[in-house]
Symmetry: C2
């Protein structure tokens, strides 16, 4: 199959833009990616726009604003994996040989729903029983604490780490560091989660320009290569038997490492789906960064903080950068590309050569309805 | 690029299923396609689910019902072209070499909105000015009548033809023929359209199983080949200067014919996007079935009726089969595959060898936001 490179990235700072439309959010991200690639817009042959709740024709509305019309546009929905799935479609479109240059967009405006947890599908019986996202993750956290002795103080440290990273990221929604005490003293949402252990509601957009690796040098000397592009679905957790194992991420990680010919020991930097504090810890284990049950200690060792051996969520992650769900996967890719280029400023992971992104969601109880998309990049 | 074949198709009769969920609608169509292909479900490697208004994770919800979980699923939105765009993504996925067998689903439940015209995006200024779909098509119809002398009686004959075809289709929502007098005497919706010149609101689902052409014989001896798979976006009509030319369909038709190495003279049967009577006439011209301005006379000649030289909408089209928007493109493909296999019963187009499908929409005024997906099939 043909190689695929990233030659342009752009995003808007995540935040609350109550007065803006979805198209208002999206077009500046696209323009930034075009400028970053130094590409003539007419070289872009197709676009994939990921949005979960943005309504019909999100991509066309955004591209209409900047006169980038006429190219094929497909809008992709996969809940929290919407724009990482759009990225996968873009990769596949280039691999198919049909296009050489493709634009990927992620966009969402959650403030239109007035805040709180996501509007989920009422036909899912889990939702009708009250199993919204904070409740689901809280059960996993409680089970993990029971099984492995994880403490509330350790959980809180995920937020402390990611808020400290986010404070270094001009694109983050939450740009102030917080202490463990502040995290634990914030309002209880779903035991054991306090407010500062839940990702914020917000709006955002991010964009990526992909091309066939064979022509990447036309646009940038330091194009980043996509080494793996994986999408899985199915059980979000391994059923009721073991809620501490995120089954689709475990499977996706194995597939992605195999595709890339790499392993966890090769990864320098990762953006993983820390929608709630427990999530990041589960994903350390799913990606093989540490053994099952060791995530709390691994976090406390500093391995995943800036300066550590495998820096996780240098952007601040969902907890600090924010989580406008359809925009998240694309924004993770923006961060990893900046890290691999050495353009991440105060939050730069020194010498980063291999990075991965991971966006997962959709599964309500997650018995069957989860989606997970993982990409591995290298310079 | 690798060849792609259709080895299984299935759908549920379009209609109003107010008590059913989206997943209730979708899974029987998928099971029918699997049975039609005679395929082991585990051979299916990935799924693309087109829905415009079905909510998050439509594909996963449907596949969860029949235990078809674990495979990568991407949900595709492109307004009325949602499942035709999903079909295009499935084709591209096989062409990329990543998968050999892919499932495509189209599904929609419009009755949840309570009837009437589609819920459109309020941020589109055209919508805020009242330019909903019936109004938009009505303006095109009036312009065409002014330019070319088309009469209301001729317009009504599109409905008469398609309702007569639909009466022969067990999967059609409207299964009674209507006379020109009944069409013209029905309630006025947007001058010149009466109610029976507008497609009905309804629910539905359709599914298609694609595979690499090289392995199609494993499943069916008479696999149908996809000769072209095209997606365009941009101007829905050629601006205000000429509302009688559907620009993206003209462009898409040219691209699709070129890809297939075929022309309008090769097409035996077509399912085109007759959301309103005028639409079918505009598309005769866009596809080159007749010259610009001649569509009314071409219709009256009987050329596009069963028994004619190029039968258009033998299924009954959107006007009779119904138009659950996300399901439409997939259902068009189901009809063409049945026609090319000779399985269309009382509405069979004798000796059909080449067929095309065409689903377009999304453009509100259509200045920039339209999408159009065209596929050409042959036996």
């Amino acid at each position: 199959m043909r190689g695929v490179s990233v030659v342009g990235v752009g995003m808007i700072p995540f935040g609350k833009y109550t007065e803006k439309t979805l198209a208002d959010l999206g077009w500046p991200a696209v323009k930034a990616a075009i400028a970053d690639a130094g590409i003539e817009p007419r070289r872009i042959e197709a676009a994939y726009c990921g949005t979960a709740l943005g309504g019909m024709m999100a991509g066309q509305r955004i591209l209409g604003r900047i006169g980038l019309t006429g190219i094929p546009v497909a809008n992709i929905e996969n809940a929290c994996s919407s724009s990482s799935t759009a990225l996968r479609q873009g990769v596949m479109a280039i691999r198919s040989g049909e296009y050489d240059v493709v634009l990927v967009i992620g966009v969402e405006k959650l403030t239109k729903f007035g805040g709180g947890t996501l509007p989920l599908e009422e036909e899912d019986w889990e939702v009708s029983q009250g199993l919204v996202m904070p409740a689901l993750y809280a059960m996993r956290a409680r089970r993990y604490m029971h099984e492995f002795g994880l403490t509330s103080a350790q959980l809180a440290k995920v937020s402390v780490k990611n808020r400290s990273h986010g404070a270094l990221n001009p694109d983050a929604q939450m740009r102030t560091p917080v202490s463990s005490e502040e995290v634990l003293a914030s309002r209880l949402i779903a035991d054991p989660f306090t407010l500062l252990q839940c990702c914020p509601t917000g709006d955002g957009a991010a964009a990526i320009i992909l091309c066939a690796a064979s022509i990447a040098k036309e646009f940038r000397s330091e194009a980043i290569r996509i080494r793996a592009s994986d999408l899985t679905s199915g059980k979000y957790v391994s059923g009721f038997r073991d809620m501490t194992v995120p089954e689709i991420t475990v499977r996706g990680a194995r597939e992605a490492y195999e595709e890339a010919g790499l392993g966890p020991e090769d990864v320098d930097v990762a953006e993983v789906h820390d929608a709630f504090t427990i999530a990041e810890l589960l994903y350390y284990e799913a990606f093989g960064f540490c053994a099952h049950g060791d995530a709390g200690a691994f976090l406390e060792s500093g391995a995943t903080s800036l300066g550590g051996s495998i820096v996780v969520n240098p952007s601040g992650g969902l907890l600090a950068k924010g989580h406008p769900i359809g925009a998240t996967g694309a924004a993770q890719a923006v961060e990893i590309v900046r890290q691999l280029r050495g353009e991440a400023g105060a939050r730069q992971v020194e010498g980063a050569r291999v990075g991965l992104t991971h966006a997962t969601g959709g599964g309500i109880s997650g018995f069957d309805h989860g989606a997970c998309s993982i990409h591995i990049f290298s310079r």
